[in-house]
């Protein structure tokens, strides 16, 4: 028994790399860009999953137990699965308020912050819309926030992280110019989406949101709502459909409005083409430019 305990303790100290757990794949991509081979990374959710409904598997707890840093999207997006995982992780380092807990929502301006809030309004997040990763201009400050935190936790490798950050930002900013130019061509097009998932992207590039298929956030479409939407909507070009909701409603509405259903990745790994953050936005652009 003693030997086992020592063996297990040995396991904990034998890997010197900084251990990072990220809740979503896109956060993991930023960690990879900045930390490269000097951090070990574990991502909880899959790109194809509904970010609101991630299953709190016990296997995640094992990975969080030894983490030096937990990076979350925040704004209550993880409220359905993260609190019990955190509580059972038995890891003081990554508890909220500690240095090993990084909430990225603190580094961006959230939109659609409700003035008053009630569950009768559906699944509204009191902090605002949490899907902020879909504005490519939000990425640089978040990459910087991650680099700074890695620096604090692992100062000997700080120069390495900063170097990687600068390299990433250079490549990202180059792409940003391209994206800004190309997305600008989409300005003014009218779209309908299932959930308010793409609002940051729409707002950044001046696309017009006519309505959502959900009558309220988190409430599946109803016949009455869809009829209302169809009767009001005019000149809608795209129905933006995420990968995890049912697609029948979108197809029905598209047919009635003579619009086109576009399956749009919201996250790295949501579709095979979105392999990393760069290809995620490239793919979004490609699918909207058809």
């Amino acid at each position: 028994m003693k030997a086992l305990v020592f063996f297990l303790l040995f396991l904990t100290v034998s890997f010197a790399k900084l251990k990072v757990v990220a809740t979503y794949p896109w956060i993991g991509e930023l960690v990879k860009e900045v930390g490269k081979d000097r951090v070990s990374l574990y991502v909880i959710a899959k790109g194809t999953e509904d970010p609101h409904f991630v299953v709190p598997k016990p296997s995640h707890i094992a990975k969080m137990r030894d983490a030096d840093l937990l990076i979350v999207q925040g704004a209550s997006l993880e409220v359905g699965f993260l609190p019990p995982l955190l509580q059972q992780s038995n890891n003081p380092k990554i508890q909220p308020g500690r240095q090993g807990y990084l909430d990225l929502s603190e580094f961006v301006e959230l939109i659609e912050k409700p003035v008053n809030i009630s569950r009768a309004m559906g699944d509204v997040h009191p902090e605002g819309n949490p899907h902020y990763q879909l504005d490519p201009h939000n990425i640089p400050p978040l990459a910087r926030a991650i680099a700074e935190r890695l620096c604090q936790l692992d100062s000997p490798n700080c120069a390495y992280y900063r170097g990687n950050l600068e390299d990433f930002l250079r490549r990202w900013n180059a792409k940003l110019t391209e994206w800004d130019r190309e997305f600008a061509k989409l300005k003014g097009i009218k779209v309908i989406q299932y959930h308010k998932l793409y609002n940051y992207l729409l707002q950044r590039y001046g696309m017009v949101l006519v309505g959502t298929l959900e009558p309220l956030p988190g409430i599946p479409p109803t016949g009455k709502h869809i009829e209302g939407l169809i009767s009001q909507a005019q000149g809608v070009k795209f129905i933006l459909q995420d990968v995890y909701h049912e697609k029948r409603t979108a197809q029905f509405v598209a047919q009635r409005l003579n619009a086109k259903v576009v399956i749009l990745p919201h996250e790295v790994g949501a579709v095979p083409e979105a392999k990393d953050l760069f290809s995620l936005f490239d793919e979004i652009l490609k699918r909207l430019s058809q």
Binding site: L8, L9, L11, T12, T48, E49, D50, F53, V54, V55, P56, K57, P58, S59, I61, A62, K63, R65, D66, V72, G74, A75, S76, L77, E78, V79, G80, F81, L82, P83, P84, L86, Q87, Q88, S89, N90, N91, P92, Q95, P96, G97, R98, D103, S105, E109, R119, G122, D123, H125, P126, H137, P140, P141, R144, A145, E148, N173, I219, P220, Y244
Partner: protein, 475 residues
């Protein structure tokens, strides 16, 4: 911030100091916000410098250093995971049902499971028996409170209200900062024995708890005052060890209070006193592990509990009592296959085994005290399949069986039934995570009355609602 300010007022002496600090903090935050907005409006390159500056403006003098340290501690108080910012997370869960049953309430109340379960006067507080009466039931209105106490402890309390009053079902603190994967729990809590015991009734997949739980742990389950220490092993897969030291007051298998017996119940002349057990009385250990194979997750565990028993049913028509020692073993296995974000198939089962050894006290027809050595070896299981086939719909079946019921009185085996099944099926509709409507039909063939089996058929329409802080989805 406003809440913070109000809060600080209550500390009379420090309030001024505090308020100043708060104000300054507010100003600082406003300044930061302004900075942020500015930064956002400016070019990206400039924004970068701004962020840098903020981080570099680290405290130069000692007092500032102290303050930032203080701020950090406050932060730990303020922030609960993923952004819900308040001092207290509060929710109310209401469970109400409509029941149709082929036995009227009086008959149902007097049914027993031979050698395993009979109703006893004085039950019926807290959650008690759910869905007890025909017609409408208010099972409970449960208040659930949770908040970090300080950077070192989280506090949880569960207070179910029934129509007759309230009970503190759980009130415990958990550490949030022990090193090396340890966690310590103190207070009154649902024991981590088995899979289902630690879950609240509203998290169960069926309207009632499984038969094995009912007969070995009672209608309320194993919830006790005490402490728990658990250790999460530093393995790449989930491996949790835990020990609990509990008071051991569970009325079904344990109990701590001694009792007094008389030689003849009608004309008492002498009496014997059976003393209390040592307190605390119940020691418990468990190990749980989990691993994934693709989208299939397994969770399995072994539990063991041992303690002395004092079961006092001396009041009532058929006075009897038991003093002895009880060992309880549990094995649980869950296999859950995730089809996508909203759909899964889950197979779950638990086996419970009880080994009880002691002395039974009862009175014969003349009213004389009779004592007999009693040995019980009993076991049973449930297994259930739940299919969440749509974002809002779940269906499931549960099979219960008590398959071992060996009771020896003075070495002579009693003639008790050992084939005690119950079957349930449910269909559930959840408009959101906060409301649920469940239809359940079931047949229970474990109940007896006067030596003959009484099959109970029932239909339950159950409503469950939750308001307040967002609860998490269970695994």
């Amino acid at each position: 911030m406003l809440l913070l300010s109000i809060f600080s007022f209550t500390f009379a002496q420090e309030s001024l100091e505090e308020l100043k600090r708060q104000l300054e903090e507010q100003r600082r935050q406003i300044r930061e916000l302004e900075k942020k907005i500015e930064a956002l409006e400016k070019q990206k390159s400039e924004a970068k410098e701004e962020v840098k500056k903020e981080q570099e403006s680290a405290p130069a003098d000692r007092s500032l250093q102290l303050r930032s340290k203080y701020d950090e501690r406050l932060k730990a108080l303020q922030i609960t995971p993923t952004g819900q910012r308040s001092f207290l997370n509060l929710s109310l869960i209401v469970d109400t049902s409509f029941v149709a049953r082929n036995k009227n309430d009086q008959e149902f109340k007097h049914l027993e499971i031979p050698g395993l379960y009979h109703r006893h006067e004085g039950n019926g507080h807290g959650h008690g028996t759910l869905n007890e009466k025909r017609g409408f039931n208010l099972n409970y209105a449960e208040l659930y409170l949770y908040a970090p106490v300080d950077p070192y402890f989280d506090l949880y309390a569960t207070i179910p209200f029934s129509e007759d009053g309230a009970e503190v079902e759980e009130a415990y603190a958990v550490t949030r900062g022990l090193p090396f994967g340890f966690q310590f729990k103190v207070g009154k809590f649902r024991s981590s024995f088995g899979r289902l015991n630690a879950q609240h009734p509203h998290a169960w997949d069926f309207a009632n708890q499984p038969l094995a739980y009912k007969v070995f742990l009672g209608d309320d389950g194993l919830k006790e005052k005490g402490v728990q220490l658990n250790w999460l092993a530093p393995t790449p897969f989930y491996l949790l060890f835990g020990v609990e030291v509990l008071q051991g007051e569970n009325e079904h298998s344990f109990g701590t209070e001694g009792f007094r017996l008389v030689d003849n119940i009608n004309t008492p002349t002498t009496s014997i006193t059976i003393g209390d057990t040592k307190k605390p009385n119940l020691y418990l250990g468990f190990v749980k592990t989990s691993f994934d194979v693709g989208n299939l997750s397994f969770l399995t565990g072994l539990s063991f509990a041992t303690g002395y028993s004092r079961i006092n049913h001396l009041e009532g028509d058929n006075p009897h009592a038991f003093a002895g020692k009880t060992k309880l073993y549990g094995f649980d296995l869950t296999a859950k296959y995730m089809i996508d974000s909203y759909r899964y198939i889950s197979l779950q089962g638990e086996y419970l085994y009880r080994d009880q050894n002691g002395t039974k006290y009862e009175y014969d027809s003349a009213g004389d005290l009779e004592t007999a050595g009693l040995k019980k070896k009993q076991g049973g299981f449930y297994t259930q399949l739940v299919f969440k086939f749509d974002r809002r719909w779940r269906a499931g079946v549960q099979y219960n069986l008590i398959n071992k019921n060996d009771v020896k009185k003075n070495g002579v085996k009693e003639d008790l039934p050992s084939n005690l099944p119950a079957y349930y099926a449910m269909l559930e509709y959840s408009p959101t995570e906060f409301s649920r409507i469940r239809f359940q039909v079931g047949q229970n063939r474990a109940f007896f009355h006067d030596g003959s089996r009484k099959t109970v058929n029932e239909f339950i329409l159950q409503f469950n609602f939750a308001i307040g802080a967002h609860g998490a989805h269970p695994f």
